[in-house]
């Protein structure tokens, strides 16, 4: 097994004292980010990214990915203790986690949540370990048409799988692509959409968009809710951990199903949030006693947490092998790779073996470290949430402003951050999805250049996307995903044909 020996080398890289320290720092920062409203995985990493420019790439990505694991763990704490999902993917955890806390079983709920997160992530890392090299080897044969069809599938999946209205998904996505077009066209040297402004010459940095949309937008939404922090406190003792662990193997089917859902949703860009909802729904439907869900059922905590972590982790698989991230946070990490001078994609597995396998090994270690850290430090994190929002809110605004400024040392970016923040608030309230917007902004340049190259090869004919079995299959799948909502709409109108929808 070539992978295993490479993985062992990776462990040697990840185990160096310096990298273990970065891992601990990353996990701690990540949990903090996950616990605080207004800071999440995507914008938290975006804010910290400029600080890592001077670090060596392997240590930097280990720290940043550990922030991501930490944020995934942290989201569960606020959901269970405060009924406030710190992250969108922990919304489903509140359904049964908070009732458990109200019944005085907070420690069990937290232990179950952390353990399921760990199991979900572990399975997903194993999937990455064995699938990534295969996929990368396969992707080495990709030409521009194949790459564009993968991009197309990514974006069409959003249309097919989002809960949001398809027109709004497409609008958000196209806005992202349009923003990515702003600035200098590197192929022809032509200026696009700058309208004579010098600030727009370099285009919109997606980090600014992420900080604004997710950070400022989230703070505005949180303000609206008035946020009464009336939480339960919790201390986890070894005894409760042991008791909970003894009960968990009974839920092995829930684990297995949720992991499968999570991995699938993470690799195709469904993301952690829909995965957690879907896993919760499936666990409930498959249970003998569905009515006990929502009243503090352990499986109601296990299912969404397992799926969210599995999806969050496996979102890194397409990011590493194809350069197509499966989630906004993976997109930010991809932006980091580009800044450190690494080109994500199949060549990474050939040219940067140390980096790739160091990262994969750090995923195993990071999740072990993460589990230990969160289990031992829960009371502190709960205490942080008792800090009044009137202190947290302005401090987070300051942190976001610093994050936006440090990307390019430009005041214009800070102003743009506020503009994106207002749009983030409006979009969230009007059900425009933010993830496709961010992904389109990140991948816009790549999608455009592969499209152009494909068009050059075929002299402007779209038939190149069906020129062989592989590219044709991916393109067809993309079209199916795109038309999926239409099929759903047709089906729902079938019985009462001719009935206008508003008559309902």
């Amino acid at each position: 097994m070539e992978e295993l020996s490479l993985l062992m080398n990776g462990f040697a890289v990840a185990m160096s004292p310096q990298n273990v320290m970065f891992m601990l720092v990353g996990i701690t920062l990540g949990v903090l980010i996950g616990v605080l409203p207004g800071l999440g995985g995507a914008n938290g990493i975006a804010i910290l990214l400029p600080l890592t420019f001077s670090m060596n790439p392997t240590s930097a990505i280990i720290m940043l990915s550990c922030i991501y694991w930490g944020a995934l763990f942290g989201g569960a704490i606020t959901s269970i203790l405060f009924n406030i999902p710190g992250e969108p993917w922990s919304v489903a955890t509140t359904f049964d986690g908070y009732p458990m806390a109200q019944q005085g079983r907070a420690a069990q709920a937290l232990t179950a949540a952390f353990t399921s997160s760990f199991v979900g992530a572990l399975f997903a890392v194993m999937v990455i370990t064995f699938l990534a090299p295969v996929l990368a080897k396969f992707a080495l044969k990709f030409g521009p048409a194949e790459f564009f069809s993968v991009y197309l599938l990514t974006f069409c999946s959003f249309v097919g799988m989002s809960k949001e209205p398809p027109a709004k998904v497409i609008a958000a996505m196209m806005l992202g692509f349009a923003l990515a077009c702003v600035g200098l066209d590197t192929v022809t040297g032509q200026l696009r959409l700058t309208f004579g402004s010098t600030e727009l010459l370099n285009g919109f940095d997606f980090l600014i968009a992420v900080i604004g949309l997710f950070g400022i937008g989230e703070i505005l939404l949180t303000m609206e809710e008035g946020l009464a922090f009336k939480g339960k406190s919790a201390r986890i003792t070894l005894g409760t951990v042991w008791e909970t662990w003894k009960a968990l193997p009974a839920y092995w089917m829930t684990f297995l199903r949720s992991t499968a859902i999570g991995c699938w949703m993470g690799i195709t860009p469904g993301g952690a949030t829909p995965a957690s909802f879907m896993a919760y729904g499936v666990a409930r439907r498959m249970n003998k006693d569905p009515d006990s869900f929502g009243k503090g059922h352990v499986a109601g905590v296990v299912a969404p947490e397992t799926a969210a972590h599995a999806a969050g982790t496996s979102a890194l698989l397409p990011m590493l092998t194809l350069g197509v991230p499966g989630s906004p946070t993976a997109a930010v990490l991809l932006g980091g790779l580009l800044i450190w001078g690494l080109q994500p994609g199949p060549m990474l597995f050939v040219e940067q073996k140390d980096f790739v396998w160091g990262l994969i090994a750090s995923m195993y270690l990071g999740n072990v470290v993460g589990l230990l850290v969160v289990l031992s430090t829960v009371p502190w994190w709960a205490a942080i949430l008792r800090i009044p929002f009137s202190i947290i809110a302005p401090v987070i605004i300051v942190i976001c402003a610093i994050g936006a400024y440090t990307v390019n040392s430009s005041m214009f970016d800070v102003i743009m951050m506020m503009v994106f923040g207002v749009f983030g608030y409006l979009f969230k309230k009007l059900k425009y999805p933010l993830a496709p917007l961010v992904l389109a902004l990140v991948l816009g340049k790549g999608a455009e250049s592969s499209f152009r190259q494909a068009m050059l090869l075929s002299e402007g004919s779209l038939s190149i996307f069906w020129s062989n079995g592989l590219v044709g299959g991916v393109s067809t799948l993309a079209v199916v995903m795109l038309l999926w909502p239409l099929w759903g709409a047709l089906k729902s109108r079938m019985p009462g044909a001719g009935n206008p929808p508003r008559a309902a």
Partner: protein, 204 residues
């Protein structure tokens, strides 16, 4: 925005009624509360997106969206992006407007689904503005006063006004956070942050 009516204490911040349950079910019609209905924001956002889409299409036509001797021109890809943005946001706009017009021309008292849903209630809007207005001022002031001074003012103002904190606590946090930021960014990571005349006087 009239800021004199803002709630002054943390109790007022927290006693705001829970927002209307944001239901995914479009048919569920919550009774509209005092505030802004969803129709206006829906039309406005779709309108802005249509405008942006038109702008992209227009600019792509200017730089050429066709085929040059050496391949696709610069406007080739953006043209279709702009067209799709225009079409999709146009669809949202027309759908919202059509629903409104249909309800208006139907029997009196009929309301279209978007007008029936509350986008943001008045008290919620006040809370949002209580954050948005100072944050926007903060960004505007940062341009010439630097990050440190404006952060001190923002944190202190927010804690005094909305947290009901006394001067000692407000001053401690308002000075402590920028001081920590200074040490972490300017000293440890050597990342310079925007500074104003006061910092210049102090020799930074």
């Amino acid at each position: 925005m009239n800021t004199t009516t803002l709630p002054g204490t943390v109790a007022a911040l927290h006693d705001a009624p829970a927002p209307v349950e944001a239901s995914a079910d479009a048919h569920e019609q919550a009774s509209p509360r005092a505030g802004v209905s969803e129709l206006g924001p829906e039309l406005a956002v779709a309108g802005v997106l249509m405008l942006l889409g038109a702008l992209v299409v227009f600019d792509s036509l200017r730089i050429g969206m066709g085929w040059a001797d050496d391949g696709p021109q610069s406007g080739y890809f953006p043209f279709y992006i702009g067209a799709m943005l225009l079409a999709s946001s146009g669809f949202v706009f027309v759908k919202a407007a059509a629903g409104w017009l249909a309800a208006r021309s139907a029997a009196a008292g009929q309301v279209d689904p978007l007008s029936a849903r509350t986008f943001v209630a008045r008290d919620e809007l006040q809370l949002v503005m209580a954050m948005l207005v100072p944050a926007s001022l903060y960004v505007a002031v940062m341009g010439f006063a630097g990050l440190y001074l404006s952060s001190i003012v923002l944190i202190a103002w927010f804690m005094r006004r909305h947290g009901g904190f006394g001067w000692p606590a407000s001053a401690a946090v308002a000075l402590g956070v920028p001081a920590t930021v200074f040490v972490v960014f300017e000293r440890w990571f050597l990342v310079p942050l925007p500074k104003g005349p006061i910092e210049a006087m102090l020799g930074f």
